[in-house]
Amino acid sequence: MTVGVFDPQGPIAGQERDLIVLAIGLMLLIAIPMLILLYTFAWRYRAGNKKSADAYQPDHVGSFGRQLLWWCIPATLIAVLAVINWKTTHALDPFAPIPSSTPPLTVEVVALQWKWLFIYPQQGIATVNWLEFPARTPVHFLLTADAPMSSFWIPQLGSQIYAMSAMQTQLYLEASSTGEFVGKDTEINGAGYAGMTFTADAVSESDFNAWVAGVKASSSAPALTMGAYNALAAPSAYVPPAFYSSADPNLYDYVLMKYMVPSSSPVMTGMKM
């Protein structure tokens, strides 16, 4: 059992955890005194409390100054949070590269019904529901979908992002140490939604290279041709990890373009009326 968001294993997740803790802390600065005041007053001014009976002031409706104070207290907090919001939103922009001396590894991600296809364009291999990558190296994800909208999330590494048909989103993540992390879809996308999980396995640089070579050489890993892809893209749930020793270099672009083709597209069949 892991503690997910509070057990970050990479710089993005780490910053996000710190941001969550900071924001909660700042809000508690106002919330705690406010609630103490609320319940103290409720008890202190209860009917029948002899000590406060003389204090009763039914027409006490306040002043402009008091109201100004009321507006300024939360406004100050929100102003501080707004600054934090602006800065962190830009710092944590999923599309923004992670500063690093190591060049990023590119992984093309295709959300399918109901599994994740990972294509490694630089290595020329592909996997399903298994994401192997070197630790301490930024990973540049390019994401699209051949499925209903899905959301790609590895809680211990940080930010999630949607994967959508006919569109490409991007995400940079990095693992600061080796280890296996759980990845998942967070957006309801049909019957196999709950089983659309994968393993994100961060390994050392050399282990990664050995793994790539192993997949390429493996006799049990077929080639991901267009035909193999179309079979893979058919709906299936709780799919165990699978490996492909080669991947059609145009596959990702094909998936991306598939939905941009006008009316002759194969997905147009099945229309009623």
């Binding site: 059992m1 503690v3 968001v5 997740a13 910053q15 969550i20 909660i24 508690l28 919330a31 406010m34 609630l35 609320l38 319940y39 007053f41 409720a42 001014y45 209860r46 009917a47 009976a53 009763y56 002031q57 039914p58 006490h60 409706v61 306040g62 008091r66 109201q67 009321w70 939360p74 907090l77 929100i78 949070l81 707004a82 919001n85 962190t88 830009h90 944590l92 922009d93 923004a96 209903p148 909208m149 809680p155 999630q160 959508m164 048909s165 569109m167 989103t169 991007q170 759980v182 967070t186 309801i188 996308n189 939604y193 709950a194 939905y259 009316s263 997905v267 147009m268 099945g270 009623k272």
Partner: protein, 669 residues
């Protein structure tokens, strides 16, 4: 020919799964018992003449609340089914009833949480608020009826038709939408969701949405044009103010929902491409549009509750509300801001840092007026004489829980945090916190508070407080685990999860919480039964059982159907509070002050019209074109006939008003 007559209907559409057979049997048995009872007691005519065809906002309000209570039971059952599935479906535990995990297969589970969300939002929370606003707002502003009595009846019956329609799939079709309460495309497009589930979803929302829009227009017109003489806007009670804000939101946002879902339906029915992934369609448009309605919608659900709590806090603190102008400004501020934040529902779509940050900051800004309201409630209690009645207890529970949920909301408004919490159970815990604490607790507080005004007796306080504690404890036991699960990386809407996640104990704990909440709800039913039995001990003889501040408390309880024997005049805020200071005593008005009253006649036309709309929608779901044409044509015909009916009012003569007024006060002596 067969397709012309029956469209896509086949024998397989009849109930055959355990849940459709069970639900259909329950519905049929329930209706049979009801019909038997009405026949046995010879109450059919009474029901039709006194209730169903009534245009009296008080009766319509009560009918809204009854219907919403029934739907609360239905939506609560869904919640229990969701939790049961999640509590038992970890890892490789054997499934039941043919399911691979737990006892529900994934499709069925997804339909249940979709129905749960839609029912709780459209038919429970909105139903209760429309009911309470119907009951109380006209009384608070000194009006006898709404601006458009027939339209009010029509709005209510469209709401009923929508509520029946969302359950129709049990009887015919066997399949509801399984795409989440907002049915985002492309999942909700024909390509990924064939069948009639989504169409049932679209049309139940279309029908009830039309009803809500009519109600919204009616309330805004009523509040703006029918206030008592002297009641300027800034003298209105706060519940009226927040109702006005909420109804302005209804008018501004519901057309967006109607159009958006209609376009989705056009995609499905006519093969158009508004939101498809192909041929130039764009699902992101739908996501934007639906949340342009959806975010104002959540404020439609909570702003009226702020007004209820303002009334409750000031009444039970024995003080006038602190910072009235600020409270009004806060409500208006929240109303306006609610249209500027919709994108925070999908920061993870990749709109870019500038856009995300803008919407995030705007969302945070909403916390300011919200906090101001809480400060003013605290200041209202300061130097008060607080009575811990059930409504006040609900306020105190609300304030703590809502603050926590609000913090969770501000946290989610920061994109960097949202990237790690979006679509997780943390989000689910957040919005349930807001809806349970503000909307539901507000509704419970409001119903308890105004119950004597409507029925003439107060609810049993001891049982009421017991129900309150069960709800509060149940809330914490069921939703704190969800906050934790969200941090652990658990996503929403899971029908199954790996045992290695270690989540099961937390899901089971949440399930125990549901049982406690259910006990709370049953206690409330028990409270109503006991209170009716003991009604003679709890009679409200003064019309003002709590020491209220606004005009509704100047009428005898139960409030007569003409509401005010003599139209009230107002010259200050807290009008009734001032009247009492000046020596007002409960009792009939002075002889000679009575005038003839123009009253709206009852009409069954709204029922017929809604029936036609229902049939038309059914025809559209099943592609039965003649039925769709007949249904829509019939509805238009009803509308035209009603428009030409000039005989919609009658006069209640002054002498009769005087007699009734004396009787109403006499009875209470």
């Amino acid at each position: 020919m067969e397709h012309f007559l029956l469209g896509d209907l086949t024998w397989s559409a009849l109930p055959h799964q355990w849940f459709t057979v069970g639900a259909t049997a329950t519905i049929v048995a329930g209706l049979a018992v009801l019909a038997g009872l009405l026949t046995y007691l010879k109450k059919w005519k009474w029901l039709w003449k006194e209730w169903l065809t009534s245009t009296d906002p008080k009766k319509i309000g009560i009918m809204y609340i009854v219907m919403a209570s029934v739907m609360l039971f239905r939506g609560g059952l869904d919640a229990a089914m969701i939790w049961l599935q999640q509590a038992m479906s970890a890892g490789n535990a054997p499934g039941f009833l043919g399911a691979a995990h737990g006892y529900l297969d994934a499709n069925h589970f997804q339909q249940i949480f979709t129905a749960h969300g839609d029912i709780m939002v459209f038919f429970v929370t909105m139903g209760f608020f429309f009911g309470l606003i119907n009951l109380i707002v006209p009384l608070q502003i000194g009006a006898r009826d709404l601006a458009f009595p027939f339209m009010n009846s029509l709005g209510f019956w469209l709401y009923v038709a929508g509520a029946v329609f969302i359950n129709m799939f049990f009887v015919i079709g066997g399949q509801f939408a399984g795409s989440g309460w907002l049915s985002l495309p492309p999942l909700s497009e024909l390509q990924y969701s064939p069948g009639t589930g989504i169409d049932y979803w679209v049309w139940s929302l279309q029908i009830s949405g039309l009803g809500s829009l009519l109600g919204g227009i009616n309330f805004v017109a009523t509040i703006l044009k029918m206030r008592a003489k002297g009641m300027t806007l800034m003298k209105m009670p706060l519940f009226t103010w927040t109702s006005l804000c909420s109804m302005v939101l209804v008018i501004a946002s519901f057309p967006v929902l109607t159009i958006t879902t209609l376009l989705l339906w056009a995609d499905r029915f006519f093969g158009m491409h508004f939101f498809t992934t192909t041929a130039g369609g764009n699902p992101m448009l739908y996501v934007n549009l639906i949340w342009m309605w959806g975010h104002p919608e959540v404020y439609i659900l909570v702003i009226p509750a702020f007004g209820i709590f303002s009334e409750v806090v000031s009444t039970f603190s024995g003080k006038r509300i602190f910072g009235y102008v600020s409270m009004v400004m806060a409500a208006i501020g929240i109303t306006l801001l609610s249209f500027l934040v919709w994108l925070h529902h999908f920061f993870t779509m990749g709109a870019g840092a500038d856009v995300d940050a803008f919407f995030g900051i705007m969302t945070g800004v909403i916390a300011i007026p919200t906090a101001v309201q809480i400060f003013n409630w605290i200041a209202t209690m300061y130097r008060g004489r607080i009575r811990f009645t059930t409504p006040m207890m609900y306020f105190l529970g609300f304030a703590g829980i809502f603050t926590m949920g609000g913090m969770a909301g501000v946290l989610l408004s920061i994109p960097g945090a949202d990237f790690e919490l979006h679509n997780s159970l943390f989000l689910v815990a957040h919005f349930h916190t807001m809806i349970v604490s503000a909307a539901l607790f507000g509704i419970f507080a409001g119903i308890t508070y105004w119950f004597p005004k409507v029925t003439g007796f107060t609810l049993n306080e001891r049982i009421g407080r017991r129900a309150f504690w069960l709800w509060v404890v149940g809330y914490f036991v069921s939703f704190i685990p969800l906050y934790i699960l969200g941090f652990l990386g658990a996503t929403r809407r899971l029908d199954h999860y790996a045992a290695s996640t270690g989540w099961q104990p937390l899901f089971i704990t949440a399930g125990v919480g549901v049982l406690i909440i259910a006990a709370g709800a049953l206690t409330q039913v028990w409270q109503v039964i006991v209170s009716i039995r003991e009604r003679d001990e709890h009679r409200d003889t003064t019309g003002d059982p709590w020491g209220g501040h606004s005009l509704e408390w100047s009428t005898p309880s139960p409030v007569p159907y003409y509401s005010f024997a003599v139209a009230p005049e107002v010259d200050s805020r807290d009008a009734f509070w001032e009247m009492k200071k000046r020596g007002w005593k409960p009792g009939p008005a002075a002889p000679g002050t009575y005038k003839d009253i123009v009253m709206a006649k009852n009409t069954g036309m709204a029922i017929y019209l809604s029936g036609f709309v229902f049939l038309g929608a059914f025809g559209l779901v099943w592609h039965i074109i003649w039925l769709a044409v007949a249904g829509i044509g019939g509805a238009i015909a009803c509308f035209i006939i009603q428009s030409f009916d000039e005989d919609t009012e009658y006069i209640l003569p002054a002498a009769e008003v005087e007699r009734l007024d004396r009787m109403a006060w006499e009875r209470n002596k």
